[in-house]
């Protein structure tokens, strides 16, 4: 009998998630960031406590509306970032999270994309709050995919990195892999950026 649907690490973090933000605990944080959308079935928020001297994450909490792997991936990410410098935490990718989880089935990968985005958003919000706007990466580019919070900039970036069709664009960005409502808009942007960067006429 198969004991569990996903990896042991996913099970561990789903059974006993670390660093959940419980309202009654009164956790004091310096920054928070939310991503996702309840309509799409996944939404999460990261809360960070930051040491301004060393620019290090000293503690964190999170909340998630989502499936087992969304809960596990947020939990595992919350363990990864503690003690990390902000700039290092900023570079955590969904691949890093999946690796820590010991892998996820293909159709579950979109769930883990959210954690790193919520984290980056929280860090950006922190930079803004202390007047270090120059460090903010989120340039306020228009969001195309509401579910996974994917912006126009990211689509352009993916095209520059080699996405040549919608399938490849989805591989790189996960755009439209949740509710799919943004497909038409994403395809239009894909054509636009392909034309902008790779059409010589």
């Amino acid at each position: 009998m198969s004991d569990w649907l996903y990896s042991d690490r996913v099970k561990e973090h789903f059974m006993d998630p670390k660093n959940i933000m419980y309202d009654e605990e009164g956790f004091e944080y310096d920054a928070k960031g939310t991503t996702g959308n309840i309509k799409c079935g996944d939404e999460m928020t990261f809360y960070l406590k930051i040491d301004p001297e060393s620019m290090t994450i000293t503690d964190c909490r999170w909340k998630t509306f989502g499936c087992a792997s969304a809960i596990a991936s947020t939990s595992v990410l919350s363990e990864m970032v503690k003690g990390m410098k902000l700039e290092d935490a900023y570079r955590i990718s969904n691949r890093d999270i999946i690796e820590q989880l010991g892998g996820l089935p293909e159709n579950k990968v979109h769930c883990s994309v959210l954690g790193d985005k919520a984290l980056r958003r929280a860090i950006d919000n922190y930079y803004r709050s202390i007047g270090m706007e120059d460090r903010v990466h989120d340039t306020g580019s228009r969001v195309v995919c509401q579910c996974l919070n994917i912006t126009e900039d990211e689509i352009e970036h993916a095209v520059l990195e080699g996405a040549r069709n919608y399938y490849q664009l989805q591989e790189k960005t996960k755009v439209g892999t949740s509710c799919g409502e943004c497909e038409e808009e994403a395809r239009r942007l894909l054509a636009y950026y392909l034309d902008k960067h790779f059409c010589n006429t």
């Binding site: 419980y22 309202d23 996702g36 499936c67 809960i71």
Partner: protein
Amino acid sequence: MKRIYLDHNATTPLHPEVRKSIIDSMDLYGNPSSLHADGREARALLEEARGRVAALINAEPGDMMFVGSGSEANNTVLSILGCTGAQCGIHPSVESQLVTSTIEHPCILETSKCLENRGASVARIGVDERGLLRMEDLEEALARDTSLVSIMMVNNETGAIQDVRTALDLAHRAGALFHTDAVQAVGKIPVDVRELEVDFLTVSAHKIYGPKGVGALYVRRGTPFCPLIRGGHQEMGRRAGTENTLGITGFGIAAEMRGLEMEAEGRKLEALNRRLREGIIERIDDIHFNSFPEHCVHSTLNVSFAGVEGEAMLLYLDMEGIEVSTGSACASGSLDPSHVLLEMGLPVEYSHGSLRISMGRSTTEDDVERVLEVLPGVVRRLRKMSTAWGGSCR
């Protein structure tokens, strides 16, 4: 840990009598088409089973054909639409449409989509907030030339019982054939094909405590028919392939046992359903029932919980030994929440947090009490970590 199986709409465990019948027949290897003694023995077994399955829905045994699954039966019925009539004498007008509903099982939805891609015209009738077919829309659709109407009798997700009688009368009046996918109905509520005068009706063995890999299709005598699987004389030339004698034997016994047990079981399930529903209302706030007792089979209770996601609920319950199902996107692999719940107009937020509890012959009061003991804690636990719950909003 004792497991509590509450996913009977997905499949059911073998009835002990079914299990026994299959084991007893294990050495009957004869091909029912063979003329010798071994063949005749298998043939006798096959026909006995046919009689038993026919009896459950008050059909003539000769009008029942065995197939590989409910999905195959449904595909078979829809496939008559593409028939050019060269061999079987069916001449459906190219203009003539298929009418079905938006809440059918995927084996109807996807097959009708495929027919559409091949040029057929398909009308899909929606449902109201209780999950019941909009009859006025059906009537309107039937104003156009229609060759076949296919409406499920009981919905697999909500348990909603459709008014097949009215739909069928409308279809027949419009000169169309009528098919009903009764996979979730047969064995739960009385089904009588003679009284209903239905043209096609689908049954599946594993939903009624029989084995997997066997289904049956009722085809009313004289109804146009075209085989989906060709190349053999089996099943009166309607379904090629040597019959699954062991599976069919078990199917027969399962049908017979349903006939004996269904009525008393229905009363038990009605009480359990009431207890479950009331217990959930007492213990958990912000819920939405997707099954309406006056229109649903008693075995199914579909309910949504605000602020939580279904797959997470399902897996926490599974760890406590409680086995249910969900309409959540994350559990489907398709990333879309249940099409049935969305069609009923349920807000997307709620459709991600639905649970389907489907009880059956072995479900006890203790099982229901155990669900009521565990479920509130699971919902509370998930709500406490949910962005869609509490905080400043509540």
